[in-house]
Amino acid sequence: MTLTLCTGNYAAGHTLALAGEANRAARGCCGGAYPITPQTEIIEYLRAVAFTKGRVVPVESEHSAMGVCIGASIAGARAFTASSSNGLAYMTENVFAAGYYRLPIVMIAVNRTLGPPWNIWVDQGDSLALRDAPWLQFYCDSHQDLVDTIAVAFRVAEDLRVLLPVMVAMDGFITSHTNMVVDLLDQERMDDYLPLCNVPHQLRHSHPTTVGNLTWPRETERHRRDIQEAMERVPRVLDEAIGEFEAVFGRRVAGAIEAEETGDAETILIASSTMAATLRHVIRARRARGERIGMIRIKQFRPFPRADLVRAIGNAKRVGVLDRNHSPGSGGIFWSEVAASLRDASVLLQNYIAGIGGGDVTPETIDAIADDLTRRTAATDPVWQEIAV
């Protein structure tokens, strides 16, 4: 373990590069790259890497960035890219294509508010707008979680039981541009950890196929069911991947959810990304004051970990979901997924919209939310938690 002080972007670029280089004994690595705030340092890092067998292509748009990844992946290479906000939106069509093509592409989503009007600060709406695409989604709460999850992402994506692309999200600026201490992985152990990339439906002249031609409803239905079944196999594969990571790197990476102090909790707050780190402080402080309160960090948004969540919620009577995102006409997106998971109508489930457009969610904000939740008699429509800035 060698500790470094660096930004989240640097750490992400570094890890992607290790993963790409680890495939040099097979078809190599390749990805398309297009800059957008706050992701640019990732692609700058990648463009400077002298891969043994790899190339990062500077394209003219995010749509093409994912296009290059798709071409590279179906040609058998390990493929990756990064984007954010409007870049993710512009990329949407090819994001769906990558998933439908069952390609193990890894993309770093540096969460940033969608616009215009332009806003460069953190908001999860950009990656969540793609939640219906057949991609795994992980939301990281720290630099270390980010680095480790990127490595795990390749392992899970390329597993033949999964074969789906993975989005690894981090908070724009808060993670991407903040310098923190992190253990950056090394090439030798990455080579150990990641098997060589093997795309079974790779384009081959020995057996020419056409990928993507007209597909009738019945075959399409089968195709979509296959994808769902692959999603259902993710918990098992993730568990193995995390186990193998621990064996190689000596560290246990967080899984789909992280529950803390939920065992006997009456009240549980749920959050994701760095807001969950802030939430942790609040929970520990309130616990110290004797409150039976716990928290759940949802890290894996797709596939949505219903069973894990329900188990972690246990007998808690009040559950609050913090969303730094909002679906107009509905509410927070994590909240709506949690609501769909909770069959127990006796649980008071309340949605708190906090940090939209990059607002600074402080411990005080979360304390206020916790106070509100514990005092409630009934759930109401999503509450917009006002932010000072």
Binding site: R102, H201, P208, L214, E221
Partner: protein, 700 residues
């Protein structure tokens, strides 16, 4: 609720027809629904459309699986499968050119049948290759369902389908054949799709498509062979197209071999034939006809002559006359293995080739080369052997067959003193027995003999030479190029004049006018008494045509040919005559059916590049008129000129058809072309791209 299914092909307007049907009922106050099944609807691919009609609002949006009525827009889709789920009481409405008959699959059902394709094409609806039949079908459908013609008219006008569409619909309405077939109706259940469903990750995807697109075609390409006009018009029966094909490839030896199959005198014909092949050549419609004659000459002069065969049979033939007919008969008989004896009355072999055609047209070494080739087939030739009628009878006893080809021995004449016969004159020229220095020579006649006599006279030093002809230049039977050459050399042509009296250096002539056509089809010259005139003349040569000496009679094994029999007058005809005689004699003659002659309408002239004809070089007139050296030098590049041949109606494996087939279903193996009709869509590009009319589209 009424439900109906329409089966058609993309591009025929099936979806629009569904809408029209729905609209017809809508106009009567019903609720209606019309839609097509959208997929990869390429032109020609089978498609379905549906119509629902009901009194109540229609909320069912599924595809129809149990139609009350079935409508088929394309005859090639008619089959048992269209009955899938169909009610036995409903209509089957068909676009078909066939009469409704006892189709087994449709027994017991109500049928309405109309040839909508023919009607649509007649009214100009759609394109030639994809007629749009929907409005026509609407007429038939309306009649079956009890709509009035008025309702049809209003319906079509509402959609702007007036004019031809309306006429077509009306015609279909009036002429649709409606019948209920006997027997028990066949019930065909709705088909269920097959069980296994493939996935993107299955290892065995990517197999070829299962559709046999040949079922789309309404026309099919066929190959045919027509007779090129050159072949049809060659009196010798040469396969002109084939020898040009070999020459075009640069294989002069093979080209010569083709010629030698029919004619032993290619070098001769390549110089003196009037070339009806060239005159009939279709290439005139593009730029200029192919210079076949000079190619034949080139091939004869430059190719390697094959080894002759020697007789191997016991049969013996006698041939009287060593002109082209006799030479040809001798050659073909000898090639068939016969022993041949050739008798010639004069002191040299060759007949008119030797004595009647001057050296400047036909150098005698060329004649000797080809005569020599024939003789080397074991033919024994006897000169100075005059065979009269009794001698012919003797030959008939001694030989298995006798062929008499003595040509035209007597010259026609007019009653005029002091004149020389043209044929005799040319013979004396040949023997270097004439001097004409300073003389004013007049030749009467219009054929080759007259022109040859005139040009020879010039070369022998005549001070002036005129040809006197009783009709105009256009009617002169001599080869046109020879007439031109004579005039270039300074021969003067006097048209519409007859000689009357010749003596003391003056020739009295009379002008004529042309009256009604005579038995030869040419206008008859009528002397004008008031138009006599005289010209200075030292020598008058009459070349008014020749006739056969009819003293020789026939016999069982005596055959006649050449000019002696037919008076055709050309070397080529004589050659053909000699060959046919040999075939009859050896019992190998079989009249062949010939395909019709290819015309310019059969060709795609737009696919050929313009290229001027290679003309033979000729010695300039002012040089050549002083000697008997050969005037024409032939062409340099026979292969290039042969490549100008269009090969009318005969495939020369240019591969254009194959190269342009969009679906790659036309293949060639060796010389054989094959269409894969399982996949041919009938687009017709192959036929359009065949420059020579070999590939044509035929209705299925």
């Amino acid at each position: 609720m009424i439900e109906m299914t329409l089966y058609g092909r993309g591009g025929q307007g099936g979806v629009t027809l569904a809408k029209l049907i729905a609209s017809a009922w809508f106009a009567r106050g019903k609720h209606a629904q019309a839609f097509g099944v959208y997929a990869a609807e390429r032109s020609g691919a089978p498609i379905q459309a549906y119509v629902r009609v009901d009194d109540a609002e229609i909320t069912n949006h599924n595809q129809i699986r149990k139609p009350d009525h079935v409508i088929v827009l394309d005859p090639t889709l008619i089959g048992g499968t269209i009955l899938s789920g169909a009610s036995i009481d409903g209509w089957i409405i068909l676009n078909t050119p066939q009469q409704v008959r006892a189709w087994d699959a449709f027994s017991g059902r109500r049928i309405a049948a109309i040839d909508a394709t023919a009607i649509a094409i007649r009214h100009g609806l759609g394109t030639r290759t994809t007629p749009i039949v929907n409005t026509t079908m609407m007429g038939a459908i309306a009649r079956a369902f009890g709509f009035s013609l008025d309702e049809v008219r209003r319906l079509l006008n509402e959609y702007g389908y007036g004019g031809a569409n309306l006429d077509a619909a009306r015609e279909a309405f009036d002429s649709v054949e409606i019948v209920k077939l006997d027997g028990e109706p066949l019930i065909v259940k709705s088909t269920r799709p097959p069980a296994p469903i493939s996935s993107l990750l299955d290892p065995d995807t990517g197999k070829p498509p299962a559709i046999r697109t040949g079922s789309w075609a309404t026309r099919r390409p066929q190959r045919r062979t027509l007779t090129p006009p050159c072949n049809a018009n060659c009196p010798a029966g040469n396969d002109v197209q084939r020898f040009l094909d070999e020459a075009a490839r640069g294989d002069y030896d093979r080209a010569l071999a083709v010629l030698l199959e029919t004619s032993p005198l290619p070098g001769v014909c390549g110089r003196v034939c009037p070339a009806p092949c060239m005159i009939s050549c279709n290439r005139h419609a593009l730029d200029e006809g192919v210079n076949v004659r000079d190619i034949e000459r080139f091939v004869a002069d430059h190719a390697n002559w094959p080894d002759p065969v020697t007789p191997w049979r016991r049969e013996r033939a006698a041939i009287v006359g060593s002109g082209p007919a006799g030479i040809s008969a001798a050659y073909h008989l000898a090639r068939s293995g016969w022993h041949v004896a050739l008798f010639e009355s004069s002191d040299e072999l060759g007949g008119v080739l030797r004595h009647g055609i001057p050296d400047y047209r036909l150098p005698k070494d060329v004649l000797d080369r080809e005569l020599g080739f024939v003789l080397m087939h074991g033919v024994n030739a006897y000169v100075d052997s005059y065979i009269n009628a009794p001698a012919v009878d003797a030959l008939a006893d001694a030989y298995d067959a006798v062929f008499v080809a003595t040509g035209l021995q007597s010259s026609r004449s007019i009653d005029i003193a002091n004149a020389t016969q043209g044929i005799e004159f040319l013979d004396r020229v040949h023997r270097h027995d004439v001097v004409l220095t300073g003389q004013r020579v007049i030749v009467a006649g219009g054929g080759n003999t007259a022109v040859d006599a005139a040009r020879s006279a010039l070369r022998l030093g005549a001070a002036s030479v005129r040809i006197l002809y009783r009709r105009t230049r256009a009617e002169m039977p001599a080869i046109r190029e020879e007439i031109d050459a004579a005039l270039e050399e300074g021969v003067v042509l006097d048209e519409l004049a007859l000689p009357e009296r010749f003596d003391a250096g003056r020739l009295q002539c009379i002008r004529v006018i042309l009256g009604e056509p005579d038995s030869s089809g040419r206008r008859r010259p009528i002397p004008e008494p008031s138009s006599r005139f005289t010209i200075d003349c030292d020598q008058l040569i009459l070349a008014l045509g020749q006739e056969a000496d009819r003293s020789i009679a026939g016999n069982a094994n005596v055959f006649f040919g050449g000019d002696f029999a037919t008076s055709d007058g050309t070397v080529a005809a004589a050659i053909g005559s000699g060959r046919r005689a040999a075939e009859v004699i050896t019992h190998r003659f079989a009249p062949t059916e010939r395909a019709r002659i290819a015309t310019t309408d059969d060709l795609h002239l737009n696919l050929f590049e313009h290229e001027p004809r290679h003309h033979a070089l000729a010695v300039p007139p002012d040089l050549r008129r002083h000697n008997f050296l050969e005037v024409h030098a032939g062409i340099e590049d026979a292969s290039a000129e042969a490549r100008r041949c269009l090969s009318c109606g005969v495939c020369n494996r240019c591969d254009r058809c194959r190269d342009h087939c969009p679906d790659g279903i036309l293949t060639r193996s060796g010389d054989e072309y094959r269409f894969d009709y399982d996949y041919c869509k009938g687009c017709g590009v192959c036929a359009s791209e065949c420059p020579r009319g070999v590939v044509v589209m035929e209705e299925i």
